[in-house]
Amino acid sequence: MGDFLHTFFDVHEMWSVLPELLGEGLRNTLLIAALAIVFGLAFGMLLAVLLLSKRRLVRLPARIYVDVFRGLPAIVTVSLVGLGLPAAHLRPFGRSPLGYAVLAVGLISAAYCAEIFRSGIQSVPPGQVQAGRSLGLSYLKTMRLVVVPQGIRNVLPALTGQFIVDVKESSLVYLLGLAVGQRELYFIAQEHQAASYNSSSLVAAGLCYLVITIPLTYLVNWLDRRMRTGRPRVAAPAPAVPAGEKTEVSA
C-alpha cells in the first residue's frame, strides 16, 4: 500500500513538477487544444454544408474526408502530419511541432465536427426552412440565421465531447519531440516520470487535464441553458391566456 501511494501520489514529486506543469504545460496544452478546436469548428462547419449538398460531386469529397479522418487512429494522423509533412519538405509551421499538432488534431476534429453539425442541421424541422424561404431569405441566409443557430444548440452536448477529445489528443504532440518552452502537460510529466521512475508527475498532469475538461462540460451546459431560455432579461413568461384576444387589424 505504501508503494502504491508512493508511486502515484508522492507529494514531493508532484510538488516539484507543478511549476512546469502550470507555467509551461497548461499554457501549451490549452493553446494547441483551443486552436485545434477553432480550426475543427470552422472546417467542420464547411464540411457539414458540403455533406448536405444535393450534388453528389460536392458531397463525395467531404464524405471521403470525414470517413478517412474519423477512421484513422489519431496517433497515425499526428505522425503523418507532424513527421511526414516536414520530411516531405512541406513546412508550413517551420520547425515548431505545435503548429503541426494543431493542424493534425484540428483535421481530426473537423471530421467529427462535420458529422455533429450535419446531424444538428438535420435535426431542425423542415418547417423552419420553409418559413425562412417564404419570407424571401436566400438559402444561405436561412441556413445562417435560422437553421444553424438552432442546429448547434441541439448538438452542444456532442460538441462538448469533441472539445474534450481535442484537449486530450493535444498530448499526442509528444511524438514530435518538444523543446523547452514548447512542452505541454503530458510531455513534461513523462519526462519527470522517465527520470524518477515515479508516476506521481503523470497523476499531477492528469489532474491538470481534468481541471480543463470537467469545467468545460459545465461551461457548455451553462451556455446551453442560457441559449434555451434566452437571455435573462424579462424572465417572467407571459400568461398563456391571450389578453382578451384583441384582434383588430388594419393591415
Binding site: S134, P242, S250
Partner: protein, 255 residues
C-alpha cells in the same frame, strides 16, 4: 397600404395569382394533376377538400416552396416558374402562414418579425423594430414582443406568424390550414384576424377546413379532390348548392 402596394403592380382586371396546368409528382405519385385558377386583386379564395387532395401542395407550389413538376405560376405579373426569375424577391412579396406556425424558436417575438425586414428588406434595427412593434400592436401582441414563441399559446403564436408575414407588406397572403393545429377555443381569435385582413382588402388564398369561415369570408371557393379542382365558384353557390356528388359527400362529412 395594400391598395397602395397594389396600385404599383398589375393593372386592373389582371389576376394577382395565375396558375396554369400545375402538376406535381413525388416520384411516381401524382399529387397535382393539372390545376388552373386565378386570384384577382383583393379577392379572397378558400380552398377546401379532403386531406391528400393536394391543396397544401398546391399552396406551397405558388411560392415555389415545393417545386412544381409542370405548369406555370405567375404572381403579380412575374412568372415564378421561369428559371431566370429571382424567386427570393418574389417570395418577399408573398406572405405565408403555416399550419404549425413555424416561428423561429431561438428568437423573440419581435426578432421573429424583424428578421426578414432586416435581412431581406435590409432595414436598420431601429426602423425594423418600429415596424415590427407597429404590426404586433395591430394584432394585439405588443405585450409579447420580448417573449420567446415557446411561452405563447398556439393562438398567439399563429398571430405572431401572421404579423411576421404582414410586416413584409405582402401583396398576397397564403394560409395553409392556419387553424388546424389550434385548440378549438383559440381558433376564433386567429379567424378574426384573417377576417379583418380580408375586409382590409388583402388578397388571400386560404387552404382551410373551416367551412363556416369560407362561407362567410371567401369570394370564391375551390374544391380540390384527387389533385384537381373538382368544383369552383362563388362561395355560397359552391357550399350551399354543390353540383358534384364528391363535394356533396365531402360537405356532409365536415359539416
Amino acid at each position: 397600404m395594400t391598395a397602395a402596394t397594389r396600385g404599383t403592380t398589375g393593372t386592373a382586371g389582371e389576376p394577382l395569382i395565375s396558375v396554369r396546368g400545375l402538376t406535381k409528382s413525388y416520384g411516381t405519385v401524382e399529387v397535382l394533376r393539372g390545376v388552373d385558377f386565378d386570384v384577382a386583386p383583393s379577392e379572397v379564395v378558400c380552398v377546401i377538400g379532403p386531406s391528400g387532395s393536394g391543396k397544401s401542395t398546391m399552396l406551397k407550389c405558388i411560392n415555389l416552396l415545393d417545386a412544381p413538376t409542370g405548369g406555370e405560376i405567375s404572381v403579380s405579373g412575374v412568372t415564378l416558374t421561369d428559371p431566370k426569375v429571382d424567386v427570393d424577391a418574389v417570395r418577399a412579396r408573398i406572405g405565408m402562414v403555416f399550419q404549425h406556425f413555424n416561428l423561429f424558436p431561438h428568437k423573440s417575438v419581435r426578432a421573429n418579425v424583424t428578421l426578414a425586414l432586416r435581412h431581406v428588406r435590409r432595414l436598420g434595427r431601429a426602423e425594423a423594430d418600429a415596424l415590427a412593434d407597429e404590426q404586433l400592436d395591430r394584432l394585439g401582441l405588443a405585450h409579447l414582443a420580448e417573449q420567446r414563441p415557446a411561452n405563447l399559446s398556439g393562438g398567439q403564436q399563429q398571430r405572431v406568424a401572421i404579423a411576421r408575414a404582414l410586416a413584409m407588406r405582402p401583396e398576397v397572403m397564403l394560409f395553409d390550414e392556419a387553424t388546424s393545429a389550434l385548440d378549438p377555443e383559440l381558433v376564433k381569435g386567429v379567424l378574426a384576424v384573417m377576417r379583418d385582413l380580408a375586409s382590409s382588402g388583402m388578397t388571400m388564398l386560404v387552404v382551410t377546413h373551416e367551412i363556416g369561415f369560407a362561407r362567410e369570408v371567401a369570394d370564391r371557393v375551390l374544391f380540390m379532390d384527387g389533385g384537381v379542382i373538382a368544383e369552383q365558384g362563388p362561395a355560397r353557390e359552391v357550399l350551399e348548392r354543390p353540383r358534384t356528388e364528391r363535394l356533396r359527400a365531402f360537405l356532409s362529412q365536415v359539416l
